[in-house]
C-alpha cells in the first residue's frame, strides 16, 4: 500500500517535471523563432502567433530566482500542512509567494508592483499600514487580559523581551542599513507580524529614500513566529536549571469584570499618551478589548475576532507573500534580514528569561516566578505561551504554566507596539 502510494507520488513528480521542462523548451524555442520568423503565409503567421503567445507564458520568462521562490512558497505550505506551524499564516503567505513569483511579461498590470493591477490594489493595505491595525482590533477582541491583571508584575517580562528589538536595530546599523531600514528590521525582534508590517510600511517602504523591505521583513517575522517551537526550547533549557523549571507559581486570582473593562481603557489612554505613534496599533488593540469586555457589544466583538480578522489575515498573508517577487526579494539584504531576524528572536527570548530570573532575586516563596515564562515575553501570541507550557510539562506533569505565560505574552504585544511607536517617532 505504502509502496504503491510512493510510486504514484514519484510518477506525479516526474510528470510535473516533464511538463515544466517540455513547456520551458517549447517556449524558449518558439519565442526565439518568433523574432526570426519570416512574414508571409497564413501558416507562418499562425506559427508566429503561437510563438508570441508562448513568449508571454511563464515558461519563457522563468529565471532561476523564480524557481527558488516557488520552492520557498511550497516549503511554507509544506510546513503548515505537515507540521501545523501557523497554518493560518503560512498557507496564505506560501500561496502568495507562488502567486507573486509566476513569471510574466511586465507592463500588463499583472504584478503586485505594477500600478493598477488587482494585486497592487490589495497590496495598498500593506503599504499604507491599513491591515495591521485591523488585525490588532481582532486580537484585542479575542484577548483575555485577566492573567495579566491577576499578576501585574509579569508585564515587566513583556518589556524586557523588547531588548531583542533594539539590539537587532543596532545590529542592522552595523551591517550597513540606514537608520530607517534598521528600525524596520529591528521590530522583527518584537515577534509580532502585524507590528513588523506596520513599521516597515512606514519606515522601509521604498518611498522615503529607503529600500522597500516590507516583503523580506514580513516573511522573516512570520517565518520565525512559526518557528518559535523550534527556536525557543533550546534557549530555555540553556538558561534555566531543572530546579527553576519546576517552580510552581501561585494560581492567578479571580479578576472582576470591572477590572477587565477598566484595563483596556486605562491601557489605551496611558500607553498612547506615552507613545502616540503607536496609536493605530494600541488604539485598535484596546478598542477590540473594550468591545469584548463591555458586555454590550458582543456582536461587534464577535465580528472583530472572527470574520474581520480572518478576512484581513487572508488579504495580508497573500499580498505579503506575493510581494516577494524574486527580482525584489532575492537580494543580499534579504539574506541579512533573515539572519538578523533569527538573532533578534534569540535575543528577545534571552532577555525575557534572564529578566524573570532577575525578578526572582527579589521575590520570595510562592511569589517566585518560573523563569520559563520569561520566554513568552516575545509576543508571538499564543505560540510562545504554548511553548512555555509544553516545556514546563516536560519537567513536571502537574505544572500548568499556560495562564501564567499568557501574561507576559500579551504584555509583549503591548511592549512591541510601544517599541514600534518609539522607533516611528524617532525615525519616521
Amino acid at each position: 500500500m505504502l509502496l504503491s502510494k510512493k510510486r504514484t507520488y514519484n510518477k506525479l513528480v516526474i510528470g510535473f517535471l516533464l511538463f515544466f521542462i517540455t513547456g520551458f523548451a517549447i517556449a524558449q524555442v518558439a519565442s526565439t523563432n518568433v523574432i526570426t520568423g519570416a512574414e508571409g503565409s497564413l501558416i507562418q503567421q499562425a506559427i508566429d502567433g503561437i510563438g508570441i503567445f508562448l513568449s508571454y507564458t511563464g515558461f519563457a520568462n522563468i529565471t532561476f530566482a523564480h524557481l527558488i521562490m516557488i520552492v520557498v512558497g511550497l516549503f511554507f505550505i509544506f510546513l503548515a500542512v505537515n507540521y501545523d506551524y501557523e497554518p493560518l499564516l503560512l498557507i496564505p503567505i506560501g500561496t502568495g509567494i507562488l502567486i507573486g513569483n509566476i513569471p510574466f511579461v511586465a507592463g500588463n498590470q499583472i504584478g503586485i508592483y505594477e500600478t493598477g493591477s488587482v494585486l497592487n490594489y490589495l497590496y495598498f493595505g500593506v503599504v499604507k499600514g491599513i491591515y495591521p491595525p485591523l488585525i490588532f482590533l481582532g486580537i484585542g477582541a479575542m484577548t483575555d487580559f485577566s492573567s495579566l491583571l491577576s499578576n501585574p508584575k509579569l508585564m515587566l517580562l513583556g518589556a524586557a523581551a523588547q531588548i531583542g528589538v533594539f539590539l537587532t536595530f543596532i545590529g542592522a546599523i552595523a551591517l550597513g542599513f540606514s537608520l530607517q531600514e534598521s528600525g524596520a528590521i529591528g521590530i522583527i525582534g518584537g515577534a509580532d507580524g502585524p507590528t513588523a508590517i506596520f513599521l516597515s510600511s512606514k519606515l522601509a517602504n521604498g518611498l522615503n529614500g529607503s529600500q522597500n523591505l516590507i516583503g523580506p521583513i514580513a516573511i522573516a517575522a512570520y517565518s520565525y513566529m512559526a518557528l518559535v517551537p523550534v527556536i525557543q526550547p533550546p534557549i530555555m533549557r540553556l538558561l534555566t536549571s531543572k530546579k527553576e523549571r519546576v517552580i510552581k507559581m501561585k494560581p492567578p486570582r479571580v479578576v472582576s469584570k470591572k477590572e477587565k473593562l477598566i484595563f483596556p481603557i486605562i491601557g489605551l489612554l496611558l500607553t498612547t499618551f506615552i507613545s502616540p505613534s503607536a496609536l493605530p496599533l494600541l488604539g485598535m488593540l484596546f478598542f477590540g478589548n473594550i468591545l469584548k469586555e463591555s458586555g454590550h457589544t458582543e456582536r461587534l466583538a464577535e465580528t472583530a475576532r472572527t470574520k474581520l480578522i480572518d478576512i484581513v489575515t487572508i488579504l495580508l498573508g497573500v499580498t505579503v507573500g506575493a510581494s516577494t517577487q524574486a527580482d525584489v526579494f532575492l537580494t543580499v539584504d534579504s539574506m541579512k534580514i533573515f539572519g538578523l531576524g533569527a538573532i533578534s528572536f534569540v535575543i528577545a527570548t534571552i532577555g525575557g528569561l534572564l529578566f524573570a530570573k532577575f525578578m526572582n532575586l527579589f521575590l520570595k516563596g510562592e511569589n517566585k516566578l518560573n523563569p520559563l515564562i520569561g520566554a513568552a515575553g516575545v509576543s508571538a501570541v499564543p505560540d510562545s505561551a504554548r511553548v512555555v507550557h509544553v516545556e514546563g510539562l516536560k519537567y513536571d506533569k502537574n505544572n500548568y504554566l499556560l495562564m501564567h505565560a499568557m501574561a507576559p505574552n500579551v504584555s509583549g504585544v503591548i511592549g512591541s507596539a510601544v517599541a514600534a511607536g518609539i522607533l516611528l517617532s524617532f525615525l519616521g
Binding site: L148, L149, P152, K153, M155, L156, G158, A159, A160, Q162, I163, V165, F166, L167, F169, I170, I173, A174, S178, L179, S182, G183, K250, P251, P252, R253, V254, S256, K258, E259, I262, F263, I266, G267, L270, T271, I274, S275, N398, N399, Y400, M403, S411, I414, G415, V418, A419, I422, L423, F426, L427
Partner: protein, 118 residues
C-alpha cells in the same frame, strides 16, 4: 564613542531611550493595576451588616483560588460527561433492511453504463 559612526551613535541613543520608555509604559501599568485592587477595596467598603455568629455557623474566610489542577479536574469531568452521552447507546449493532423505492434511475434493466466486457 570615537569608533562609532553617526548612525551608530544615534542608534545607541534610541536603544537606551526606547528601552526606558517601553519599561516606563509597562511599569506604570504594573503599578496602576497593582494598586487598583486596593483602591477598589477602599471604595467598596460598605457598612457591613453585623453577622450574628453562633457557635455552629462560623465560616472561615479563605482566599478562593482556582488552581490548575482544579480546572483540569473540572474540564475532565465535563469532557467525560459529554463523551458518556455518546456511550449510553444500547450498543446493539443491527443492519436494518433498507426499503429501496423503485426508480428507473437505479434500475438494472435501464442501466446506462453498459460496458463491453467481452
Amino acid at each position: 564613542m570615537m569608533f562609532l559612526n553617526a548612525n551608530m551613535e544615534e542608534g545607541f541613543v534610541i536603544l537606551l531611550v526606547g528601552m526606558f520608555i517601553v519599561f516606563l509604559a509597562l511599569l506604570v501599568l504594573f503599578l496602576l493595576f497593582t494598586l487598583m485592587p486596593k483602591v477598589y477595596e477602599a471604595f467598596d467598603k460598605k457598612p457591613k451588616k453585623q453577622v450574628q455568629t453562633t457557635a455552629d455557623s462560623t465560616t472561615e474566610t479563605t482566599e478562593s483560588y482556582t488552581s490548575g489542577e482544579q480546572i483540569a479536574a473540572v474540564s475532565t469531568a465535563v469532557y467525560l460527561f459529554l463523551e458518556e452521552a455518546h456511550d449510553q447507546e444500547n450498543a446493539i449493532v443491527t443492519i436494518n433492511s433498507v426499503a429501496k423505492n423503485y426508480s428507473p434511475w437505479s434500475s438494472k434493466i435501464y442501466v446506462t453504463h453498459r460496458f463491453n466486457n467481452k
